[in-house]
Symmetry: C2
């Protein structure tokens, strides 16, 4: 199996990307294909000792930056690391592809260059959401700001299959983000989506309120991409602010400083638990081949973990599973 | 000035409501009118020593419960504490009215029994949002699950005037919740609302992402009621879960327990800072008279603080200020 990585994408490319790729070799079985400017990548690779039979470089001379307009970038920069990666993925020269680059371009390219699973209207970003009971999968984390009820049903199906295959959870509990617990609550979108999800074969548990999300009441969190993006960023922001408040409070007096010093080990553990880099990238579900979005500010640790999950995803039957459920029925079926 | 309180509304009515009302007397100048079942209220009042010239009871024999359908409840239970309160408010026999009862009924009653400010399409709940830099005002916190761009502009206007008058902030900074910082990002609603807010005379600072909200980047947070409700409940949920994680982490070893003991004072301060009861109720802006929603699980402390803010709101020129900006222009203007 070969995992492709956009070596030029993200704030810390190519150095942290290459470093993370090399570090990933110890936790995966696959080979790695680094896509991007050959000379720059090789210069980075020279810094490390690693199994040279498992790392390849595929040259691409251009780079899509965050300033590029997504569709424009994809169409014009044909020799960019991202577009070249899409081609390798589509042609099955690699089994999965990871990029920490321009999210819009990655989404547009997934659609235009790799293609959708037949029967899926809108691919979506599936992000990990940390809860007190472990990890949940949130779909959509930001690909589709405006959604139709049909999309939310598809997010539930895709998230459910992914969570089962990649995280090994049988019959994952699917909930829809809403502003009340009873059926009939919410806006027009969530009310109609509720009916579709209820009629599906998913393990649908109904509405989930913002308050319950961090408690881990469901395994798959379904919402439109606007809501999902707000939830992810707010969770990060609240945790960060909470940490700041805590720091101010606990260092107010002398004895509190001693207390804080004793506790510092605990705070470190806690910080790790809250660290997105531990969970790797976010798959773009609905694309016909394994495509993974890594955080724009990914460092080596984040890339290493993204590679690990991309391998699990690429080995899995997630895409076949989704296809089977959503493929348009033929006349005689 | 007279502040009316629905003595029968909320999970802890009437005892905590009456207790909170009596306790509020020490921090306000107004008189208080408790609306509800006379005998029950008087029985509660007998427990306390207070200035009898400042507390009145207005009888109402029915109660709208959380099981009542909002509009139905308002229409059928004409002698309920809530509907009687609306009448007193409309007839200016009280200067403000607080209820911890059925939120939907309070919103419906505000519209049907008290009436909108001329020129306002949809009243909205303005909730306090605690940030690292103090309190912000979030509009809409849950009254309108589906919104039009015009509504978000009105939320910005109402929130801005309220924040200026009640919290004394000059030129409050108004931001719109969105999933990207640049103009042009977001869903159809936020994109169009951005243009309206930008063209207004508000101190509009543009898009605000979920991550930035707890940092206190703006004084007025504008969003549709679905998003606002998710944000409020999620913030509460994350803070609570963070506290639970922290507790687990810091009590893992013996030395950590000592650290935790020393720190406990700091945790208490922190808890207070995060406590919604400190901030009282949420005004329903856009209604033509001061109407305040208190949390359903309000205890005496929450009611006491809700009364305090309701008095400030009732004394202010918020409603006149909103009317002046949004009133429909006459032909010769």
């Amino acid at each position: 199996m070969k995992i492709g990585i956009d070596a030029m994408g993200g704030d810390n490319a190519p150095y942290e990307i290459v470093k993370g790729a090399v570090e990933a070799l110890s936790i995966i079985e696959s080979q790695i294909v680094l896509v991007g400017k050959e000379d720059l990548i090789n210069k980075e690779l020279e810094k490390y000792t690693y199994d040279k039979d498992r790392v390849f470089v595929h040259n691409a001379d251009e780079v899509i930056t965050n300033e590029d307009k997504p569709v424009n970038g994809i169409k014009k920069k044909k020799d960019s690391s991202m577009v070249v990666g899409f081609k390798l993925l589509k042609d099955k020269e690699i089994d999965g592809f990871i990029s920490a680059g321009n999210t819009g371009a990655l989404l547009a390219g997934g659609l235009l260059k790799v293609g959708r699973i037949k029967g899926i209207d809108r691919p979506a970003i599936a992000s990990v959401y940390p809860t007190l009971k472990g990890l949940a999968t949130m779909v959509d984390a930001g690909a589709n700001a405006d959604c139709k009820p049909r999309n939310l049903l598809e997010f539930g199906i895709m998230g459910s299959i992914y969570t089962k295959s990649v995280y090994g959870k049988d019959q994952p509990k699917v909930g829809i983000v809403n502003i009340g617990s009873e059926k009939g609550k919410g806006n027009a979108l969530t009310q109609e989506s509720y009916d579709l999800l209820e009629a599906s074969e998913l393990n649908f548990i109904g509405n989930v309120e913002g308050r319950e999300l961090p408690e881990g009441v469901c395994d798959v969190i379904v919402c439109d991409g606007f809501t999902g993006n707000v939830i992810l960023k707010l969770t990060e922001g609240v945790a960060k602010s909470f940490g700041k408040m805590l720091k101010t409070q606990i260092t107010k007096g002398f004895f509190r400083k001693i207390g804080a010093a004793i506790l510092s080990g605990g705070f470190k553990d806690l910080k790790k638990e809250m660290d997105y880099r531990e969970y790797g990238g976010a798959p773009i579900l609905g694309v016909s081949r394994p495509l993974v979005k890594a955080h724009g500010s990914s460092d080596a640790l984040a890339i290493k973990n993204a590679v690990k999950y991309c391998e699990i995803y690429s080995k899995s039957d997630v895409i076949e599973g989704i296809s089977e459920i959503v493929r348009p029925k033929k006349k005689d079926e």
